[in-house]
Each structure stands twice: as C-alpha cells, then as structure tokens.
Point group: C2
C-alpha cells in the first residue's frame, strides 16, 4: 500500500488502528465460502462515523477500493477484497447506543455481533429476530440482507431495520428512515442500502426492530419417508394459518451429520424441525395439536412436540452447528454452498430435484433449508480436485431450476462473487441496467466493494 | 393540449381511450384532500404495458407531465396534475392476472380496486391485507405505500408486494423482485418504487402477498376516561406479545360522528376498537382474555369482546365510513387531514398534545388513528374562510411534535403536495439530496408527477 496513504490513515485514527501487517491482512482476506482469498493492502478499525467518512473521502479521492468488514462469516465471498485496497473493520464500533424497550427498538453500531447483542437485549426480554446461525455482525447482516431460521415468522433483516446512518463513497453522511414503524415520507433509501453488500455505502448505525422473547415455546420434530414428502408437508403447515417461528427441512444426511454432535441423537430420516411460540401456554398447545394433525395427515412417520427447554436449545444449537460439523467431517475437501429460494408451492419440486441431483452427481454432503420461506441450501463436498467444475455445474443446475420455478439465485447469502453470473437471467437486462446506474450514481469511481454484486 | 400530441395518443390507443373533454379532465383534477384542484390537459386509458411504455416515451420526448391515476382516493394531493399534462388512468388495466393460492400470492394490474379484488380473492379464502378504507386502487396503494387498520398485524403495502413491472420515464419496462418471498439478489428496486408516488415510474403489474382469511376473529371494544389513557393502553397491548389484527384509537368526537350512522350506537368515550384473529377458537379466546386483563388494568371503564360477526362487520364499516361521515357533517367547510406517526412509546404524548391542540384552537372534527403502529390522524374543520392559515398552523404544530418525538410527517398518506415542506427537517439535506439525485437519474426531464414529493 502506498506509504503516503498509510500515513494519512494513521493520522486519522492513530497507529494502533491501521495495519498493513500480513497477519492482519490474512485475517481479512477470506470469508466462509469456497471463493479464493485475496488480501487487502491495509486494514483500519474506525471508532466513529466521522472517521469512516474521512477514510472514504480519502479512498474516493485516491480511487482506493473500500470493503466493509464485520465477522467475516458470509458465504458468497461478499467481503473478500478482490481488488485489494482498504478493509474497514467495524469490530471496534460495536456498541449498543440505545435500547428503546417500550418501542421494541435498539440503536446499534454495525460491528456488534448479533448473538452478543441478543444476550444483552435478552435481559430486557427482547431480541433481534433474524439469525443466520454464525455469529454475524449487524453491519454484515444488513449488507447481505441476512435471514435464517426465524425469518418465516419474523422476516429477514430487511424487515427488521427501521433507520440507518450510512457513509457514501464521497464521505457524505446520510440518515435514512425513522424510528416510526410507519413511514411514507419519500424514497425508501433504507431498503436501497440493505442487501447492497457494501457496494453503495457503509452502514455506521442502525435502528433495529426487536421482538419480545416468547414466554411459551416448543420445538417440534416430524420425520417423513422422503425429503419430497417432508417438503410437501411444509406448505400445508404454512397454508394453515399457523405461524411457526421456525420451519426447517433436513434431509437424512443432514440429520446424520447433526448426530455427530454427541448431544444430538435424532432418528435418521428426512425431518422437519419446527418451533412454535405462544402468548400463553394454552395458545401454544392448540397450535401444537394443529401442527400434529397436519403432519400426520401429511404422512409423518414420527411426530414429537413439547420437547423441553434444554432439549429444544440442544436441537437448535445442533442445527446451527450443522455447517461447522459438515466442514469438520470433510477436511481439505472441495466444497460448495447453494442458497436458492422459490415460492412455497414449488418447494417440494425444488427439494426433490436437488436431492436427486446430489445422488446423481455422487456428491457427499447435506440438503437442508429454511423451508417455511422456500429457502433451500446444500453443502456438497468432493475430495477430487478434478471435480471442481462439477461443483459449479451442480450450482448452475440448482439455480436454473430455482429460476424456472419463479425463484431466486440467492435467498439470503447475497450475490457476492458467485451469483453475479445469474443476475441477468434473474432480473433481465433492463433492471440490471438500472442497478448499474444506481451504483454509478452513488459510487462514480467504483471504490465500494468493487467486483461484487454487479461485477 | 397540443393537437399533434392528442393525435399521436389517439394513434396509440384509439379515439375512445383518449380524452381532452372537460368532463374527463374535471374527474382527474382532484383527490380527496383539500389541496386545490388542477386539471390535466388530457386523460388516456391504456390497456397494456406496451401502451403505457409508448405514452411515456412520447411524453418524455415532448417533456409533457405524466401523472398515474387509480381511484383518486388519496389524501395529500398525490395525483393532482398540478402542471397539467397527461393523466394515465389505469381503470381499464384492472385484471387479476394470476392467483397462486398455494403461495398466497396474486399477480394483478394496477387499476384494480383492492376491495373489489378482495371480494374475488375471498372465494379462495385469501385477501390482500392493507386496507386504507376508501376503495383505493392497487397502483395507488403501491404509489403511496398505503396502510390502514390491519397494518399493525400485516404490515403496510410496502410489506406486501413481492415483485413489480414498471415503466420508467423513457418508456423502458423493467421487472423487479421475484415470486420468492426470500430475495437477496441485488438492489431492492421494488422498495425504491413503492412509496415514490409516481415520481419515478408507473407500475403496470404487481405481485402481491396475500393472507389467509382468518377463520376465527373477534372485534373488541374498550372505552377509557381520556384519549391519553386509551393511548397509554395501546402500548401495553402491543408490548404483551399479543398480535392484534387491528388496534384503532377513536376520541369521543370520532365516536359521536360514527354514531351518526344509524347502525352504530357506541358509548361516547375515548375508545379502542380492536380485532383479534386466531387459528382456532381456543387461541382466540385466550387472546381475548389477555387483552381484557390488560385493558382493565390500564383503566378501561368498559370492555366488550366477542361481538358477533354482524356487529363486527358493522363496526368496521362504521370505522371506514368515518371520513365520509365527517365530510357530510361539515358541508362546504374548510378542512385539513393530518397523518403523522411516532414510535409507540411516544403515542400517548402525541395523542394528548393533539387532542389539546384541537381544543385550544377550537376546531371541530375528530382525532383517531391506527394506534397499534403509532399512526395518528385528525380531520379538522372550520366554517370560517379566514381561518385557513390556522388549519395549516395546526398541521405544522402536529408535524413538529411528531418529528420531535422521533416520528414522521406522514405515516401512510404520502408526501404529495402538503408534506414537502417538512422533508428537509425529517430527512436532512444530505438524504434529501440523494433522493433528488435518484429522481434525476430515473426521470431526467422531470415529467413524472412533477411538483410532488421533492417539489
């Protein structure tokens, strides 16, 4: 990195918060995807919005790539600094600035990790509902419009952010939205920024919608003879007017992997793992009876509701560990993570197609997903380096299938590096052209996370 | 209107779907607000997206103002063609193109009125939840991000649109979003268009999220000694984790006006009018017991739940008639409608302040609102033409108060004409500047609903 730029950054934030050391660059060169790492030239850890503004102004004048960094837990190469430049790591902007408990809102800095935040908010009976699983930062969740297991009830990150403070490429600071849940005053800049993966602006503050911690909840397990039958039960449940707080599909392989954790011992079969919340014990019981009826009518071989709190926490911990277990089980293998979503009526077809394709192409791995909102993941592995192209062919075919079923190439991981090639097919040239114009308007010199989303 | 332009429009759509007749222009010169009417030069009724595209292309080349038209039921002057030009009336693009019942989705043209649409969808047990009260068109609801009584449970229009087809100022047709509920593929153009009040594009097709008609529901009434006490009960209810499907505040005057309808006979007192939906009769009963407890603890003088279906329908019909009743009761008077929203914890203060101000300024009229989401309306009247400035002073003070309470100048009516003066205060120069740049990008010649939102 240009020695003068380093000196200017050091002047801005002090020597202890700028680094061009290889160790720091290595830590900011890859996420949890299989995309090739690339190191930034420098890393800087701002403390204030004013510092972020000064850094961007400098980068904009010098045409230096800028990439925001949270937890590095994204799954599509979203924060890999493929053109080098400066990584702005928000680790030290991680405070909760205000909790408006009566309004179910918190104002936070982007560097806070959502699980850490939820531990603190839990003391007031509140939580931020989107839960991607890995301990993502709020800034990263906003950038990628992260979702997770609870989105079927509570929505994605997009649905749980009321207002933002962001810094544009030229250093300008703008505030979007308001603390009012209802807003109809002008263009929706908040949603333009959410999901833009750091290519339009960096988020320096967010006002989040919170939910009250449910007083009564129960995990529910149902097993089925096939993944397709399990997937078919999903939309019966959704269609019933029940509001599951989570509705996860796991194929038999996914369950086997979860069982590698000693605390989990599930029957190995295609499974729906669900959770229901009730305002009272009675409403909860009624919902559980209804979902049991639907599952049994839908061909469930086994159904159990009302698992206790400890067992429930174990199950969700196991579900959240699934990714990590998969990687531990396949050390040094090549892998690929898919993330498509379709309308719920098409979910059985997508799940059946994908399950067949895994078998057909002889990949090991697992199929699972946030079935309640039509989102399907796979993580597939191969020990043979020669099969790298097959991994991508698998991804291509799953995405083509999802698009053919009126779906999307990415439900929650974002476009990052790997999904750019599908953008024209999904959106058409005209809409993609408008996205490019908006990018050009907000970031004329192309310094904001270059090489992502739109290329 | 330029005779050549009329001839070109006639060539495009046929003589029976273009008019420069005064009768047609008069019908398209005002909405239901008190803003001064202004006539367009011509009205055109397209049948297809291609026609809309051709009309916009022509208007863009000739620099002719274009204003979309639905039902004319908006409340802030949003579709008044203040610079003349062409009104594009979508009345004849009013078909339901597809119902995806299993996915709770419908694809519709913008000219359909939501009440008419819901009658048809109801045959399949489905409905589109946002309900502004007046029989608005879907296109208008999208343009203004309309909301209404059910938004507390189901969200505003913004939360219930998955995909759009829109025509840009230059005639280009783009498709945004997808039928997948989960989407993280690129910039959120759908939400950029929603609420932009026809200043960025015209919507020609919308994919809507639907909800299942509730099988079990009950209206609930609770009266309180003062508007402030009633408003304070609101956030106890919201905070309890109960999910009311509607939570309306009515001051005593509003109840009196509602009673002018012969079918309504409510005790005249500050009132919360609520509705609860349950998946089963049992869950519903449990919720009703809980809300009763909260209301009585919160000082309710009177509480009644479990009103029957006919009575419930009467009550909601009465609530939706309130606006009309008010206008019938004050013929030929000057009036003003306010529409602010604040975080729920600030609602009691806003309601108390506004109630006092009505008294202080000796206006007749009513205070009411979608309390569950912090939205407060008033409709105030004066027979004295000399007091027009006082009406605006009232609006100014209510808006200033709402902004001071971290709220917004418009919860659901949009910026239109009357709220432009508050935009800088609410958003700041920087954010407003970005909105202006986006407007300039999408509509460089300023033909799309000129004089609205950003002026």
């Amino acid at each position: 990195m240009d020695i003068e730029v380093l000196a200017l950054l050091t002047n801005m934030v002090g020597a202890d918060r700028v680094s061009a050391a290889e160790a720091d660059r290595l830590l900011h060169g890859r996420d949890q995807s299989s995309h090739a790492p690339h190191l930034p030239d420098a890393v800087v850890w701002p403390h204030t919005t004013a510092e972020v503004s000064a850094i961007l102004k400098l980068a904009n004048e010098r045409r230096i790539p800028i990439v925001g960094w949270g937890a590095g837990s994204s799954l599509e190469g979203n924060p890999i600094p493929v053109q080098g430049g400066i990584v702005v790591d928000f680790q030290q902007m991680n405070r909760i600035l205000a909790v408006h408990a009566a309004d179910f809102q918190a104002v936070v800095q982007p560097g806070i990790f959502y699980k850490d935040m939820n531990k603190i908010l839990g003391q007031q009976g509140l939580f931020f509902a989107p839960d991607p699983g890995a301990n993502a930062s709020i800034g990263g969740m906003i950038a990628n419009n992260a979702a997770g297991t609870r989105t079927v009830k509570y929505g994605a990150t997009r649905d749980n952010v009321l207002a933002l403070e962001v810094v544009l490429a030229n250093g300008e600071i703008i505030r979007t939205g308001s603390r009012s849940v209802k807003q109809s005053a002008g263009y929706d800049l908040t949603h333009l920024i959410i999901g833009s993966e750091g290519t339009l602006a960096l988020v320096t503050e967010a006002t989040l919608k919170l939910a009250p911690l449910p007083e009564h909840f129960s995990a529910v397990l149902a097993t089925f003879e096939s993944t397709a039958v399990a997937a078919a039960a999903v939309y019966q449940i959704i269609g019933s007017g029940l509001g599951p707080a989570a509705l996860e599909l796991l194929d038999a392989a996914a369950v086997s992997y979860m069982n590698m954790d000693e605390s989990i011992n599930l029957p190995v079969a295609p499974t729906l793992l669900m959770e229901f919340h009730g305002a009272t014990a009675e409403t909860l019981q009624t919902e559980l009876r209804l979902v049991q009826e639907i599952c049994l009518d839908g061909g469930a071989a086994h159904f159990s509701a009302g698992v206790g709190r400890a067992e429930r926490d174990r199950l969700w911990h196991g579900r959240h560990q699934l990714g990590e277990i998969l990687f531990r089980a396949h050390p040094n293998e090549m892998y690929l993570i898919t993330d498509v979503a379709v309308p719920i009526s098409r979910y059985p077809e997508l799940a059946a197609y994908t399950a067949d394709l895994i078998n057909q192409m002889s990949f090991r791995g697992a199929l699972f997903g946030h079935a309640g909102d039509g989102n399907l993941h796979t993580v597939i592995f191969t020990p043979e380096a020669s099969r790298e192209r097959d991994l991508h062919r698998f991804n291509d075919q799953v995405v083509q299938k999802a698009l053919q079923l009126d779906g999307t190439c990415t439900g929650e991981h974002g476009v990052g590096i790997g999904k750019q090639k599908y953008m024209v097919h999904e959106h058409g040239e005209a809409a993609l052209g408008l996205m490019r114009q908006i990018k050009q308007l907000l970031d004329p010199h192309g310094i904001m996370n270059p090489g992502k989303v739109l290329g």
